[in-house]
Structures are given as structure tokens and as C-alpha cells.
Symmetry: C2
């Protein structure tokens, strides 16, 4: 199945391709990106809004993602606003704003999770959605150059390192996006 990606985030495009390389799908960026009002109340609603908007525009199978970070002590913020948490929306500014909000909290590790909803509209015009999470902690310093977004401050206890310090292969095995994509495509293409 040929699928276009409903995202203009090149880091996500890279991850999608890497995670799905063992499935019989041909993933391409969309011909151009379109503006989608992310008015959903949660990750699933926003993933659906993006996929349907791209499907209406290009009329071919579409895969979308809506993901973010929930920090328990901040009432699950930034949540669906993770990518637009700071004024300029850059990874650096988003992390700075988050670290600033938690700087007076005594604990060194703050319980948090990455959440990822993925939505595929397939070649039969059927929409499929699922969501997975990856539990970990936010730490108060930036560690590692790998990954993107909040990865360098997201500490994954099972590996004892941040997502900025582990390899792409290590990340894909346990990440929210890896889990959600494998679950969705295993069910649709392999029936498991």
C-alpha cells in the first residue's frame, strides 16, 4: 500500500519510515503540507482531524500522528499542546519552558509519559486509529543529542538513559510511536 504522511515534521517522517520498514508499505511525505486546525480534545481526535484533512486534499491513503508529553505534576501538560508549548514552538524553547515550570519542584525525576495516536485511512476508505504510551520521567537537565522534541529530558528507566542518549533502534523498540505504529500495521496488514 502506498501511503502519504500527514505531517510536515521531518523528524517524524524519518521515524515513521524507520519503524515501518519491515511492513509492506511505501511511505512518502505528502506532496505539500496543509494547515489543519488541531481542535481535537485529545491525541486521537487530532490524529483523525489531520488524516481526514490530508485524505480530502490528496485522495490517497494517509497516515497521521498526534503525539505529546504528559507530565503528571503539571496536570498532564503540555499534552496535546506539546509541539506548540512555547511561543516559537522550537524544540529548544519548548524544553526551556517545561524546565522553567518544574524548576521549583524538589524531586529530581518527575513522572511523565509520551503518548502517540496514529491514524491510517487506507485504500478502501476505512479509517483506523490507535494510541500507545511510553512511561518514564522528566529530568531537570538536557542529556544527549539523539531523537528530537522532548527526548533529551525524557528519562526511560528500563534503559537508565534519556531518549536523547539511546540509539534510534533502541528508541523505536519502546517508544510510544513505535508501539502505536507496529500495533496498527500488525492488525491491519497481518491480522494480529
Amino acid at each position: 500500500m502506498k501511503i502519504i504522511l500527514a505531517t510536515s515534521n521531518l523528524d517524524k517522517v524519518k521515524e515513521f519510515n524507520r519503524i515501518l520498514k519491515d511492513f509492506d508499505v511505501d511511505i512518502k511525505p505528502a506532496p505539500y503540507s496543509i494547515k489543519v486546525a488541531e481542535t481535537g480534545k485529545d491525541f486521537i481526535e487530532n490524529a483523525i482531524l489531520k488524516a481526514r484533512a490530508y485524505y480530502r486534499e490528496f485522495k490517497v491513503p494517509v497516515l497521521s500522528d498526534d503525539s505529546g508529553l504528559e507530565v503528571d505534576v503539571l496536570g498532564k501538560a503540555p499534552g496535546i499542546f506539546s509541539a506548540r508549548f512555547s511561543e516559537d514552538g522550537s524544540y529548544k524553547s519548548n524544553i526551556e519552558r517545561l524546565l522553567n515550570q518544574i524548576k521549583d519542584i524538589r524531586e529530581e525525576k518527575l513522572r511523565a509519559r509520551f503518548v502517540c495516536a496514529v491514524c491510517l485511512i487506507d485504500d478502501r476508505d476505512i479509517l483506523h486509529v490507535t494510541q500507545e504510551i511510553c512511561e518514564g520521567y522528566i529530568i531537570k537537565e538536557i542529556r544527549g543529542d539523539n531523537g528530537f522534541g522532548y527526548d533529551p529530558i525524557f528519562y526511560y528507566p528500563d534503559l537508565g538513559r534519556t531518549f536523547g542518549e539511546i540509539s534510534a533502534e533502541e528508541k523505536d523498540k519502546v517508544s510510544h510511536r513505535g508501539r502505536a505504529l507496529r500495533k496498527l500495521f500488525s492488525a491491519i496488514l497481518l491480522g494480529v
Copy 2:
């Protein structure tokens, strides 16, 4: 797969069971019905809202439906408001209101279609949605006692009768709900 229905409309429950009797699924009404704010912009969004609300409540596979009638000369009204078109929302009052709105239009047959979006959240926590339509005409008199809702004023040209005049088996073969349900379950259970 055991599935509960996210509807309190007994006519729909009957249709669901009839249409899906050849599939390996066990369809039951929900233990009780819950109030869902149908705030979606279209049939697909409302079907998803209902399925997710029932899934949150009962935590078992859920099947929902959002359907309605689009009359072209009325700007596709009543559309997603088909079931709540008149004050009391009874089939009789809804039909009366519709016939009243078209009484001054010269044509005898007005182009219209039934639309049905169906949403399944399966036993792997994956949501699947699709939508189908059934094209026909609204006529200005009530004909037949079969079916429910707007069926007695919906004329289906291929059979030369209204949905109130055809049998349940004839209706299921061509109806919006029959087409949507067979498409969804064929894809999910049979992979076709």
C-alpha cells in the same frame, strides 16, 4: 468477537443483528444506554464520539452508527440532525416536518441520500470507521409500513419502491447501513 451496540434505538439494533448475522460476531445491546453529546461536525465524527463514550464506560468492543438523510434541495438537511429534526424526535414528527418543508416545491421526487457512518472499537483497542451512502429520492407521501425513520418517504429507484415498501432483506442489500457494516466487517474480519 463479542460486541455491544452504542445505541438505544431498538430498530437499529434489529438491523445491525440482521446485517451482521453471517459474520463471526456476537452483537448485544449495551447493558444500559448512556447520554452522548453528539457535537461532531459530520456522521463520522458523531459515530466516533458514541463509540468512544461507550468504550470508556463498558471497556468491551463497541459498535456505533451515526446515520441520516441528506435532501439536496434543503442544503443537505436534515443531515446529522435527522433523528432530532422535530421537537419530539418521533419518526412521525420528523417526516411531517420534512414534508412540510418541501410542500411548495414543484417536483414530485427530490434527490436525496441516506448516509451511514459506522465505528467499531475492537478487542485490541483499535478504532475502525467507514461511511457509505444510498442514493434515492424523497417523495411527498408516506408509502409502506416497513423499515423505520424516513424509510416510507425514501424512494429507491432501482427497486421502484420506497424503503417502507421493500422487505428487510431487500433493504439490507442496498441500504447505507448494510453497505457500511459489510464493508467494515469484511475488511476487519476477512481482510477484503
